[in-house]
Symmetry: C2
Subunit: 369 residues, 2 copies
């Protein structure tokens, strides 16, 4: 009964990981989960109370499909774009699917730099496009020449994700400009910038306001509100109109009270303070984890997000999970040829990270790698 | 840049209506909006406070893609199905898109009984299917023989919507069984039952637990929480697995605190009381509006939902909006050949309805129809 577009989408990798974790737990392992894709911080209490206040004031109904004016204005102001170029969505995911259905022509090429977030492959399949991987070995940044080389008359869309999940690679504004130029206006660029405010050195660039570019972002990671389902898109009105056709029968609108509460919180600049505190903590953890992992592995030094991507050997993540109860994400979830790699998420307490690093040390010593 | 699947989707009808409303307002008309597709009631205060409590307790993170166990259990119990057959979604809309992408094969036939909710046409287009309308004139129920006649080897999916938006038509369990039988297991049935608890006489049937059937529902209409974005799907595990492939890159999960709060509210049976009160009020309004509209129009007597579908003449809704400030929805939004019809939503106060009916009387008398 399944349509062709979903037949090639596999949930088997995630299932396999889940089964291995369950098996480890059954065997009495105290599992430390370092595969989590969301901040361990809680949503700011003030934001929660604002949401409650607005629920009680009646913000429990549909909002306009484009989102509440006040939130669109705050976002537009931050990016220096027009309010009409902003659409609020149900998290970044819904926005990515809307863009994929709006712009991926069936049978066209979809460019994905790898390693990157496994969902881009799914979006490309749902849009019935051909996946064209652009490998970013060995520095895990993106070479504009590689983009130009893979671009063809059949390319409809390119996904960008900087800071990158899983490598934490960052492109500054100039580097991003060069990629935009390499695409030469011949494809829609969907720039997933959900980690843009979690960076440690170089500031990530943005394609907001650029031609043929759709910027996707969310408050999920920056305000620790993944469970609220609120994101946004910035694009010119023509592109926005096409995505709106999908959005109005998909997410419809982000939760009304959440839109209103985030608008207030941002208007007062309170998001800045919160993000700073979170990044301060993430930086400590990154430095710690990187220095410890370097004892054993080739480590991609992360410049943003909250992941470390490192090279071990094929089968490492099963071994370390079953023997030591440390759950990581396998490299092949992020593109082909990455079996030897793993992703470690440091979105967990320093205490957990210390325990996990000790266990990995033990494991590697026992194995005499 | 737009892909073929969105090029045929038009937002022009809605825009035209919006422009007409704006023009009426500019001309100083006091516009009564009877085109609203959601209850005018507010979310129960107790549910709001529960949500706040759970936000504070940390229900601000992702939940599992399938939804929180406790909510899936309550839903499963109500329907007499297994918990594993329930997936929580971001409202009914996300669920309908997930099902469409999972089951509509490109180029296959999609059956839609008309008049019905205009979004089904959009879902069919996003799935790149061929729309096959099954007209339900003249009793606005669905004749199983008509279904069997339109079914072909190329049919992938049929949308059902009883109680129906816009007619309020209801199919009882036996009638629904007959439609299910007519489809003979040769297509997936997506049964959108979002109005199932808003009925006035005959109880609407459900396809929950039926083979090849995907039941889509939401708390949006029944608990007056459209702005919360929480719905669900009931289907066997194989069908659910295919939809999950889309859901995990689309809505991902419904708001965490909302899932938890609704689970508590339902476990205590408090939803029943709330729905009863709402239906009592809707019944009064329905009886009033139907009796008044009958003075002038052929009226389809609604058995459920909160709409009246009636026949006037092509151009009526523009006239009555511009001259009397009463905003209705045009019939051609619900299928072809329906230009003479309009939909009136009675999800507004009795006071507004009384004013609107007086204005329509005036209009019809002035026109000497």
């Amino acid at each position: 009964m399944a349509a062709e577009r979903v037949r090639e989408i596999s949930t088997s990798l995630i299932r396999r990981m889940f089964e291995i974790v369950e098996r480890a737990k059954r065997e009495g392992k105290d599992v430390i989960n370092l595969s989590i894709g969301e901040p361990d911080f809680s949503t700011p209490a003030e934001l929660i109370d604002l949401a409650h206040e607005y629920m009680r004031k009646g913000y429990t109904h549909y909002t306009p499909n484009l989102g509440l004016e006040e939130l669109r204005e705050v976002i537009a102001e931050r990016y220096g774009v027009e309010k009409d170029e902003v659409m609020v969505t149900v998290g970044a995911s819904e926005a990515l699917l809307n863009a994929s259905l709006a712009f991926i022509e069936q049978g066209s090429d979809v460019l994905i730099h790898t390693p990157s977030f496994l969902s881009y492959f799914t979006y490309a399949r749902l849009g019935m496009g051909n996946i064209v991987e652009i490998s970013t070995f060995s520095d895990f940044r993106l070479n504009p020449d590689d983009v130009a080389e893979k671009l063809s008359g059949n390319t409809s869309l390119m996904f960008l994700n900087f800071p990158t999940n899983p490598t934490g690679a960052v492109l500054g504004q100039k580097e991003l400009d060069a990629v935009h130029q390499a695409l030469d206006g011949r494809a829609v660029i969907v720039s997933d910038e959900v980690y843009d405010r979690i960076y440690y050195d170089k500031k990530p660039g943005t394609l907001a306001g650029y031609e043929n570019a759709v910027v996707v972002n969310a408050f999920s990671k920056t305000l620790a509100m993944t469970g609220w389902r609120i994101g946004f898109v910035i694009a010119d009105r023509d592109l926005l109109d096409e995505m709106l056709k999908v959005h109005q029968v998909n997410g419809v609108c982000a939760p009304a009270f959440a839109q209103k509460a985030v608008a207030d919180f941002m208007a007062d600049g309170k998001d800045r303070e919160f993000v700073e505190g979170m990044v301060r903590e993430f930086r400590k953890r990154r430095d710690f984890v990187v220095s410890r992992l370097k004892r054993h592995f080739d480590v991609v030094e992360p410049q943003g997000a909250f992941y470390v991507f490192a090279k071990a050997y094929s089968g490492f993540i099963e071994d370390v999970l079953l023997e030591k109860g440390v759950a990581l994400t396998p490299g092949n979830a992020f593109g082909s040829g990455l079996e030897d790699y793993f992703r470690l998420s440091y979105a967990t307490s320093m205490e957990n990270l210390e325990k996990a690093m000790d266990r990995i040390d033990e494991f590697m010593e026992e194995k005499k790698y």
